[in-house]
C-alpha cells in the first residue's frame, strides 16, 4: 500500500539482544494510519520481541536489551519522537494510551484477583484522569464496543468466570479504552478455538473501521494474515526477509522462506478452495 | 515385563549421575556434606580420640574455656567436661532421628502412595487421617506420649515418627496423582501389571527425587524435635544428648554461656548440614528452580 503521508510509526534498524544472542537484527518497517500490518514468522523469529520493543517492555520483565536503531512515533500533535530515547516515565504515559497491546494468552493475561471491570477502568483512570465512577462508565462503553453481551454485569466478574473468547474481548476492550493510535496484537487468536478465532479477527477488523487505529498483528499463521492484513513483514531468524503488500506476498513470494510459510497454511476455513487471500464476511454484518 | 517400560521411566527420572555432578558443583551442598560427615566422624570416632567420660567430674564447675586448667569447651555446673559431652551427645540424637526418619518415610510414603494411586474414597479417608495428625500440635503430642509411657529412646523415636509424617504423605500423594495418568503407567497397566507392582516399581522410582529431598529435610526436623524434647527433660534420662545438656544448664547459662552455646552449635550444624544437602539435591534434581 503506497502511502505518501509520514508514517505513524517507523521502526528503523531495530536491534535487540538477549545476553549474547541477537533476537532482533536491524529490523525496519513503517506503519501508517489506518493500516494493518502483519509481522509473520515462526516462533523464535523475533516478531514478539519486536512488538515488546515498541512498547519498551523488553527491558521490563525480560533480559533483553535494545542495542541499536530507532523507533519513531508520531504523536497526535504531529511531533515525532524516538521511543528508544524516552524515559521510563514518558513510556508509561504512552503505554496503554497512545500504543496498546493485547497478548496471546487471554487465560493468563488478566489478573485473577481483580474484576475485569476494575482492570479496564484502571487504565482509564491512569491515562485520562477520570475518577472511578467515570472510568467504570468508560469501561462499560468499551465492553459494549467489543460486543460483550450483558456488559454491565460482566464488569463485576472475575477472569475465571469468563470464557477464553470473552477474556480476549476484555483484553481488546482494555487496549482500546484510551483510544490508542497504534494497537499491537501479539498472536491474539492462537490460544482460541477456531470459531472464536474468526469472531475475534472479525471484531478487530470492525473495530479498526470504527476507531481508525493502526494495527500491528503478530502471527505465525498465514491464514490470519490473509484475513486481516494490508501489508506483511516476514521475519526469519531475527531478520526481515521480505516485506510488501499482502497481495504481493501471496501472489509473488520472493523468498523461499515465505513460500514455505505459505505452503504450511491449511487450506481450510475462509481459504478453502482459494490460493489468494480474501476477507471473510464480518460477523453480524448482514 | 519390566523391560517394556524401562525407556519411559528413564526419561522421567533425572539421570542420577548428572544430578550427582550438579550436586558436587554446588559449594553450599558440598559444605553441608562435609559438615555431616564431620558430625558423624566426631560422634562415632570422637570418643576414641578424646578419651574423657562426659559424666566424670574433671575440674571445678563453671570453668570458662581459655582459663587455666579448663578443658577446651569449659566445664558445666557439676564440673563435667563440656567437650566430652558434645562429642558423646550426638549418638542418641542421630540414632533417634534416624529411626524416626525410617518411620516417617514408611508411614508417609505408604499413606501418600495409596491415597494418590487409588484416589476416591481411599484418598478421602487417608487424607482425613493425615489431616487429623496435622491438627495435633506435634511437640505437645510427643510430650504427652513420652510422659504417659516410659521416656526411652524407643518411645521418643516412635513419638517423633508418629507426628512428622503428614507432610511427606501429602508430597507423595501429590507426586502419585501427577504420575498415575502418564503414558508409562498406562503401558504398565496395559500389560497387566499388578497394582502393587505399578506402585512400587513403576511410579515410586519416578517420585523419588522430591521424596529424597523431603526426607533429608525431615531428618533435620527430627533432630530439632529430639533436641526440643531432650531440652524439656523428656529425653531418655539415662543417656546424654545435646538437647539435654542445654536443658540441664538452663538455670546457669547466664554465668556460663559455654555450657549451652557449644551443644546448641552442634545441633545447629547437624540440622544445617541436612538443610544444605536437601537444598543442593533440590537444585540438582530440578535446575530450573535454582536459587529459589
Amino acid at each position: 500500500m503506497a502511502n505518501s503521508d509520514p508514517p505513524l510509526l517507523s521502526v528503523r534498524e531495530l536491534t535487540v539482544t538477549f545476553d549474547a544472542f541477537t533476537a532482533v537484527d536491524r529490523v525496519s518497517f513503517d506503519l501508517h494510519e489506518g493500516q494493518t500490518l502483519a509481522v509473520v514468522g515462526e516462533s523464535g523469529s523475533g516478531k514478539s520481541v519486536t512488538a515488546l520493543s515498541i512498547m519498551r517492555l523488553v527491558e521490563l520483565g525480560t533480559r533483553g536489551r535494545i542495542t541499536g536503531g530507532e523507533i519513531l512515533f508520531r504523536l497526535p500533535d504531529g511531533a515525532v519522537i524516538d521511543l528508544i530515547q524516552q524515559s521510563e516515565s514518558v513510556m508509561r504515559d504512552m503505554r496503554g494510551n497512545n500504543i496498546s497491546m493485547i497478548f496471546q494468552e487471554p487465560l493468563t493475561s488478566l489478573n485473577p484477583v481483580y474484576t475485569v471491570g476494575n482492570q479496564v477502568a484502571e487504565a482509564v483512570m491512569l491515562h485520562q484522569g477520570l475518577d472511578r465512577a467515570e472510568a467504570m462508565d468508560r469501561a462499560l462503553e468499551v465492553f459494549e464496543l467489543v460486543r460483550i453481551p450483558e456488559a454491565r454485569q460482566r464488569l463485576g466478574e472475575y477472569p475465571h468466570q469468563l470464557s477464553g473468547g470473552m477474556r480476549q474481548r476484555v483484553m481488546i476492550a482494555m487496549a482500546l479504552s484510551c483510544d490508542p493510535t497504534v494497537l499491537i496484537a501479539d498472536e491474539p487468536t492462537t490460544a482460541l478455538d477456531v470459531t472464536i478465532q474468526a469472531q475475534i479477527l472479525g471484531l478487530m477488523r470492525e473495530l479498526q473501521n470504527e476507531t481508525n487505529a493502526a494495527v500491528i498483528i503478530i502471527t505465525h499463521d498465514m491464514g490470519v494474515v490473509a484475513e486481516v492484513a494490508d501489508d506483511v513483514v516476514v521475519m526469519n531468524q531475527s531478520r526481515v526477509v521480505e516485506q510488501g503488500s499482502v497481495y504481493d506476498i501471496f501472489e509473488r513470494p520472493a523468498e523461499p522462506y515465505t513460500r514455505a510459510l505459505l505452503a504450511s497454511v491449511p487450506q481450510l476455513g475462509s481459504m478453502a478452495g482459494r490460493d489468494e487471500p480474501a476477507r471473510f464476511d464480518l460477523v453480524g454484518e448482514a | 515385563m519390566t523391560d517394556v517400560m524401562m525407556p519411559d521411566q528413564q526419561e522421567l527420572v533425572p539421570a542420577g549421575r548428572d544430578a550427582w555432578r550438579m550436586f558436587l558443583r554446588n559449594r553450599a551442598a558440598v559444605a553441608g556434606l562435609i559438615m555431616f560427615f564431620g558430625i558423624l566422624f566426631m560422634t562415632f570416632f570422637g570418643p576414641m580420640l578424646y578419651d574423657e567420660d562426659p559424666n566424670d567430674i574433671v575440674a571445678r564447675p563453671f570453668l570458662e574455656p581459655g582459663t587455666e586448667g579448663a578443658p577446651a569447651m569449659g566445664t558445666d555446673y557439676l564440673g563435667r567436661d563440656v567437650l566430652a559431652g558434645v562429642i558423646n551427645g550426638g549418638s542418641t540424637t542421630l540414632t533417634v532421628a534416624a529411626i524416626a526418619a525410617v518411620m516417617i518415610v514408611a508411614i508417609g510414603v505408604t499413606i501418600g502412595a495409596l491415597a494418590g494411586f487409588y484416589g476416591g474414597t481411599v484418598d478421602t479417608v487417608l487424607m482425613r487421617f493425615t489431616e487429623f495428625f496435622q491438627v495435633l500440635p506435634a511437640l505437645l503430642f510427643a510430650m504427652v506420649v513420652v510422659t504417659l509411657f516410659e521416656p526411652s529412646a524407643r518411645t521418643i523415636s516412635i513419638a517423633i515418627g508418629l507426628v512428622l509424617w503428614p507432610s511427606l504423605a501429602r508430597l507423595t500423594r501429590a507426586e502419585f496423582l501427577r504420575l498415575r495418568n502418564l503414558e508409562f503407567v498406562k503401558a504398565a497397566r496395559a500389560i497387566g501389571s499388578t497394582d502393587l507392582r505399578i506402585i512400587s516399581r513403576v511410579i515410586f522410582p519416578n517420585a523419588l527425587p522430591p521424596l529424597i529431598v523431603s526426607t533429608t529435610l525431615v531428618m533435620g526436623a527430627a533432630i530439632l524435635f529430639e533436641a526440643g524434647l531432650a531440652f524439656l527433660g523428656l529425653g531418655d534420662p539415662n543417656t546424654l544428648s545435646w538437647g539435654l545438656m542445654i536443658g540441664l544448664n538452663r538455670g546457669n547459662f547466664l554465668n556460663a554461656w559455654w555450657t549451652v552455646t557449644f551443644p546448641g552449635l552442634a545441633i545447629f550444624i547437624t540440622v544445617l548440614s541436612f538443610s544444605l544437602i536437601g537444598d543442593g539435591l533440590q537444585d540438582a534434581f530440578n535446575p530450573k528452580l535454582r536459587g529459589r
Binding site: S163 | P137, I246
Partner: protein, 331 residues
C-alpha cells in the same frame, strides 16, 4: 469447593477425634486409668481414685466410658487439677491469652516482614540482599528455637540491658492500663522475636520464590503494558497473588508454630499454655496436660478456619464459584 458449613462440620469432627485420642491415651498408658486421670503419679488418695472411678464410670463398659468422657469434655469439663485444686478448664482459660498473644505476634511479624523482604529481593534477584535471604532462611530453619532464645537472653542480659528477659509482667509493676500494656509489650519482644525469626526466614524465602514466579506471569506484562508504574505493578497486581502460597504454608505450619511457642515459653518463663504443659509434666498433672493438648488442637483447627477465610478474601477463584458451564478455572 467445600461450603463453609461442611468446613465447620469437618473441624468439629477433627476436635472430636482429638478427644477420642485423649481417651485412648489414658487407657493405653501403662497402669490404672483412674491413676492416670487423677495425675499426681499414683500419690492420689484412695478416696480420690474412687471419686474418679465413679465420675468417669471406669467400672462400666468401654464404649460407655468413652461416651461419658466425650460428654464431659463437650460440656467444658476437662477434669480437676489436683495440684492446683482447680478445674482444668479455668486453668487453661487463664493461660490461653498469653499463648495467643505470643503466637499471633510472632506470626504477624514473620509474615509481614517476610513478605516485605521476599518482595524486595525478588525485584533484585541477583543482589546481595537476595542471596542473604537464601542464606538466612537456611540458618533460621536450622537453629533450635530454644537455643536461639537462650542466646538472645544471654545477649540481652549481659550486653544490651534494655529488655526484660523473663515473664510477662514486672514483679513490682504498678500503673495504669496503658502502662500495663506497654509493660507486657516490652516482655513480649524477645519471645516473639525468637519464635518469629525462624518463620521470618522461611517466609521471606518462600515469598521471594513466589514473587519471582508471579512477576514472570502474563498478567504482570499486561499491567505493565497498561502503563502502570512499577510500584503499582508489584504492590497491587503481583503482591496479592504472591502471598497466596505464603498463607497456605502459614496455615499448614500453625501446629509447628505452637510447638515452637511451647519451647519459647519455657525459655522465657512466659505464662502460657506451653509453660503450663511443661510444669504439668513435672507435676505429673495429666488432666492438665491432656487439656492443653486438646486446647492446642482446637487452636490449630481455628487457625485453619481463619486461613480458609483469609483465602476467600484474597482469591476470588475460591470465593466466587463458577457460574457458567464453559468456565474453566485456571491454576
Amino acid at each position: 469447593m467445600r461450603t463453609a458449613a461442611a468446613k465447620i462440620a469437618q473441624s468439629l469432627g477433627l476436635i472430636l477425634a482429638v478427644i477420642v485420642l485423649n481417651f485412648s491415651l489414658i487407657h493405653l498408658a501403662p497402669g490404672d486409668p483412674a491413676v492416670v486421670i487423677a495425675g499426681e503419679s499414683g500419690a492420689a488418695s484412695p478416696e480420690t481414685l474412687a471419686q474418679v472411678r465413679a465420675d468417669y464410670g471406669l467400672d462400666k463398659p468401654f464404649v460407655t466410658q468413652l461416651g461419658i468422657y466425650v460428654g464431659q469434655v463437650a460440656r467444658g469439663d476437662l477434669g480437676e487439677s489436683f495440684f492446683f485444686g482447680r478445674s482444668v478448664t479455668s486453668l487453661i482459660a487463664d493461660r490461653l491469652w498469653p499463648t495467643v498473644l505470643l503466637v499471633g505476634t510472632a506470626l504477624i511479624f514473620a509474615i509481614v516482614l517476610g513478605v516485605m523482604a521476599g518482595t524486595f529481593t525478588a525485584r533484585r534477584p541477583e543482589s546481595p540482599a537476595s542471596h542473604a535471604v537464601t542464606v538466612l532462611a537456611l540458618i533460621g530453619y536450622s537453629m533450635p528455637v530454644f537455643w536461639t532464645g537462650i542466646l538472645l537472653v544471654i545477649l540481652f542480659a549481659s550486653v544490651l540491658k534494655i529488655l526484660p528477659i523473663s515473664g510477662m509482667h514486672d514483679v513490682e509493676f504498678d500503673g495504669g492500663l496503658l502502662a500495663s500494656w506497654l509493660d507486657v509489650a516490652r516482655h513480649l519482644v524477645l519471645p516473639a522475636l525468637t519464635l518469629g525469626v525462624i518463620y521470618l526466614a522461611q517466609y521471606s524465602r518462600l515469598s521471594r520464590a513466589s514473587m519471582l514466579e508471579v512477576l514472570q506471569s502474563d498478567y504482570i506484562r499486561t499491567a505493565r503494558a497498561k502503563g502502570l508504574a512499577e510500584k503499582v505493578v508489584v504492590y497491587k497486581h503481583a503482591l496479592r497473588n504472591a502471598v497466596i502460597p505464603v498463607v497456605t504454608i502459614a496455615g499448614l505450619q500453625f501446629g509447628a508454630l505452637l510447638s515452637g511457642a511451647l519451647l519459647v515459653e519455657t525459655v522465657f518463663n512466659w505464662p502460657g499454655l506451653g509453660r503450663l504443659a511443661f510444669d504439668s509434666i513435672l507435676r505429673r498433672d495429666t488432666p492438665v496436660l491432656l487439656g492443653v493438648l486438646l486446647m492446642a488442637a482446637v487452636m490449630v483447627v481455628v487457625a485453619n478456619l481463619l486461613t480458609d477465610l483469609l483465602y476467600r478474601v484474597i482469591d476470588p477463584r475460591i470465593r466466587v464459584g463458577a457460574r457458567r458451564t464453559r468456565t474453566k478455572v485456571s491454576t
